[in-house]
């Protein structure tokens, strides 16, 4: 039991003078009498040594002690956990399911211990419990329900490969829960440092419990992989993160789909930080890159593998352009994309996107489309490189490497590229087709304008346009967990576990999913956090509603009344 006003407990010191005064007052006064003969008979009949007589003699003292004790307790405002917990309350338990929770510095893992704690919190709740997981967002597992159901759900949780959002985003996510009027929120996490302002969600007591002890870890956190033009070799780099203070070498190997393992040149990590390692050409289209090192330098084996898989289906892009248009040359620059001339959106094989010179037919809006329309000014000759030349960007087919905001409206990275070819972004639109977002863009550029021949940026613009149209439709070599393209592919709950996952609607082909979050490779435990003073005060105020102090005060008054009545009755 704790007290809101513990200082009032000093009132118990009043008992000293009360007890002393009692014994001083009860010292018998000497009274002469003519004879004690009759009084001795009275004493014999009273039987003063009986328990009842001794009790009656001490009754007033006992009553005063009880009354003072009750009054002091009432003033001290006791907070009795079992009393308060018996009151109906709403508790939210949030369990971090990010990849870093799989670290094994706590046995068997951070996640296992946090999950046990979540089960315990669910079971011990006095009222309703809601269970959420924290990955890239807050995901409800159980809405407010009774404790056993929540505990059962918590016990069945598994860890994920998501990245924990930033602390600021976490605060925004928590504030979204304010509408549920929770009394308590328990956030079970490992690396999160939550800068909670003092008056943050004042009506809710928020506690952050940290699971984790050290940060020694190495991880494969990214890869820039692409197939060569023939589609036979995998080329590119991998990003390796190290939190180990000393320089060391980590092993790297290639595990093929059939399970065979081929060692690769070791990765040298001279200091902590992110390192980019160039891979030798790998004669596979599907496999796992694995990092290996000693256990003391690798706390989280979950981030040591990088999956990749070529889904094997090249995109088909329809071209609505005259025969001699520059658009028809795209096939030579991007052999992994199939370009087919068409005058309709309904072609065979089915199209994944549609490029057009001029306006597009209405039925094309179910496909990602880009329409090139004459721009406001011509480009000067000599400003355009022959785009059939050997420029590295012409081999560009790695959509992951493309700037994600290349053609987004109003965003600076896209607009300069269009302006560089003397064009303008006329319009951009996203429609929903069968619940999936479908992008459309209108660019005020005439690619066949002779003035743009040799323009350095025109091929880049065309590549970026294709990447923009195809990024959410064409499976990539590897997706990070939570990527929008996964949601588009799965049309629902996309996998959050690293590995190969069958392509929806095409079980013969797989999609590679990885963590790709350097922040999750950093295992530095955060700091636990107790409720702010404002939250504690609000909590105490709520507890006071069920605090027994009014009852204690009433009991003290009743005891005093009873003592007065007894005194009057006896005297």
């Amino acid at each position: 039991m704790t007290f809101l006003n513990p200082g009032f407990l000093a009132g118990l010191l009043l008992l000293g003078p009360v007890i002393a005064l009692y014994f001083l007052k009860t010292r018998p006064r000497v009274q002469p009498v003519s004879s004690n003969r009759l009084w001795q008979i009275v004493v014999t009949r009273l039987n003063p040594n009986s328990f009842l007589q001794r009790f009656q003699q001490s009754l007033f003292l006992l009553l005063q002690i009880v009354a003072i004790g009750l009054a002091v307790l009432a003033a001290a405002r006791p907070l009795i956990p079992w009393w308060s917990s018996g009151q109906a309350g709403r508790r939210i338990v949030i369990l971090d399911v990010s990849a870093s929770m799989q670290a094994q510095d706590l046995r068997p893992s951070r996640f296992a211990q946090a999950r046990d704690r979540a089960v315990e919190l669910c079971r011990s709740a006095g009222g309703e419990v809601a269970l959420y997981t924290l990955g890239s967002t807050l995901t409800p597992v159980r809405r407010f329900t009774d404790a056993p159901a929540a505990a059962q759900a918590a016990a069945q949780l598994t860890s994920g490969h998501q990245a924990t959002p930033s602390p600021e985003r976490v605060l925004r996510l928590l504030r979204d829960l304010e509408g549920l009027s929770p009394d308590e929120i328990y956030l079970l996490t490992d690396t999160l440092e939550l800068p909670m302002p003092r008056d943050f969600m004042p009506q809710t007591s928020i506690r952050v419990e940290i699971f984790g002890t050290d940060s020694a870890n190495v991880a494969l956190v990214g890869a820039d992989l692409s197939l060569d033009e023939a589609g036979r070799f995998l080329e590119g780099t991998v990003a390796v993160f190290s939190a180990v203070p000393a320089a060391f070498e980590a092993g790297l190997s290639l595990e093929k789909a059939d399970g065979t393992v081929t060692p690769l040149p070791p990765v040298r990590l001279p200091q902590p930080g992110l390192h980019t390692v160039t891979l030798p050409p790998l004669p596979v289209r599907q496999g796992i890159l694995r990092l290996s090192t000693s256990v003391d330098r690798n706390r989280n084996p979950a981030d040591d593998a990088w999956y990749f898989a070529d889904p094997g289906r090249p995109p088909t892009v329809g071209l609505m352009a005259p025969r001699g248009s520059i658009l028809h040359r795209l096939g030579r620059a991007m052999p992994l994309i199939s370009f087919v001339p068409t005058d309709t959106a309904s072609a065979d094989p089915p199209l994944d996107a549609l490029l057009a010179l001029g306006s597009l037919p209405h039925d094309a809006r179910r496909l990602p489309t880009a329409a090139f329309l004459p721009g406001p000014r011509p480009v000067q000759p000599g400003e355009i490189l022959p785009w059939a030349g050997e420029h590295p960007l012409l081999a560009y087919t790695d959509w992951d490497a493309a700037p994600p905001s290349a053609l987004r409206p109003g965003l600076l990275p896209g607009t300069p590229l269009i302006e560089a070819v003397g064009g303008i972004l006329l319009a951009e639109e996203t429609t929903l087709v069968a619940g999936r977002p479908v992008p459309h863009v209108w660019i005020g550029v005439a690619p066949d304008d002779p003035a743009l021949q040799g323009n350095f940026f025109l091929p880049i613009l065309l590549f970026n346009t294709l990447e923009y149209l195809l990024r959410d439709k064409f499976p990539r070599l590897a997706y990070p967990v939570g990527h929008a393209g996964l949601a588009a592919l799965w049309r629902g709950q996309a996998p959050v576990i690293a590995g190969w996952h069958p392509l929806p609607g095409d079980a013969g082909r797989v999609v590679a999913i990885n963590l790709q979050a350097p922040s999750e490779a950093r295992l530095t435990p955060g700091r636990p956090q107790a409720p702010t003073s404002t939250q504690l005060a609000a909590q105490a105020t709520r507890h006071l509603l069920g605090s027994p102090w009014p009852g204690l005060l009433s009991a003290a008054l009743l005891v005093l009344l009873g003592e007065w009545w007894l005194f009057m009755r006896r005297n």
């Binding site: 009860t26 018998p28 002469p32």
Partner: protein, 293 residues
């Protein structure tokens, strides 16, 4: 001053009342209840255990189915003995029980002497103190008063049985005894009274009590100290205890009354706050034939 003018005026009045109450009796002479060959029948008296069976009137018994004895007159002087409790307990109260008892003793002695009876006055505390014995005759009333004026209560609770034993040694001839005491003796009192009854003394016990003893005005934790033996009793006094005390007092008085009645003795109670005259009048009414006329 204990015996003032007012007191003497009261004495004269009491004497007249006593005389009027026992009108026809010869002054200076008293009919003795002793039997003699020329004894003259005086009255019937209800039979009490210990009475002489020879004087039972069997004719009256046949008629009334109750036993009565005949009392005869015998001309002789009546010995009036006054036993005054002078133990320390008699110093209790305001006015003190001793002062009240002295007035009663003086009144009784005065009336007896006015009628030429012989009066003896004894005070007793630890025991019957021979030095306090005073035998007085008519004309000696002032000596008697002076003796009482000088008396003071002192000493521990007397062995009443021993007191009576000494009294009986000095007074072989039965008479009338007025025992003025607070009667806080216990079993010892009853033994002494039985001796008096056995020796045919007509005994009147006047229990002198103060209002503080009848209804103690006490409360709270007290250590009661006995005025005589300094014994101590610790007690927390409240309404319950006071009620119990009054119950014990009442039982003690009832027990004493019952004993005295069985012994053919008379009980009178006199509170120190009541006028001594009322005690005397009560004595007159209850002691017909015993009080000197």
């Amino acid at each position: 001053m204990l015996f003032d003018l007012k007191f003497f005026k009261s004495l004269k009045l009491l004497s007249i009342i006593a005389k009027r109450h026992f009108r026809g009796e010869k002054i200076g002479h008293r009919r003795s209840p002793n039997r003699g060959s020329s004894a003259e029948f005086a009255e019937y008296k209800e039979y009490l255990p210990g009475d002489d069976l020879r004087f039972i009137d069997w004719n009256l018994y046949a008629r009334l189915d109750r036993l009565y004895i005949k009392k005869f007159h015998n001309e002789e002087e009546l010995n009036v003995s006054i036993l005054l409790d002078a133990s320390q307990s008699m110093a209790f109260g305001t006015p003190t029980k001793f002062d009240h008892a002295r007035k009663i003793a003086a009144a009784i002695a005065y009336i007896a002497l006015q009628h030429h009876d012989h009066a003896r006055l004894y005070t007793f505390s630890q025991s019957l103190d021979p030095s306090s014995e005073g035998g007085f005759r008519r004309g000696h009333i002032h000596r008697l008063m002076g003796f009482l004026e000088k008396s003071a209560p002192a000493g521990r609770t007397p062995s009443f049985d021993e007191v009576i034993t000494r009294f009986l040694l000095k007074n072989r001839r039965p008479g009338v005894v007025f025992l003025l005491t607070d009667a806080l003796f216990g079993e010892d009192l009853y033994r002494g009274l039985q001796r008096l009854a056995h020796r045919r003394f007509e005994t009147n016990l006047v229990q002198i009590l103060s209002p503080e003893e009848m209804t103690p005005d006490l409360a709270g934790p007290l250590e009661l100290v006995d005025a005589e033996d300094q014994s101590r009793v610790r007690l927390t006094i409240n309404n319950q205890v006071l009620t119990l005390y009054e119950e014990v007092l009442r039982e003690t008085i009832d027990e004493l009354k019952g004993f005295l009645h069985r012994q053919g003795m008379r009980y009178h109670q006199s509170l120190t706050t009541a006028p001594f005259e009322s005690t005397l009048l009560t004595l007159f009414e209850g002691a017909a034939g015993a009080l000197p006329a």
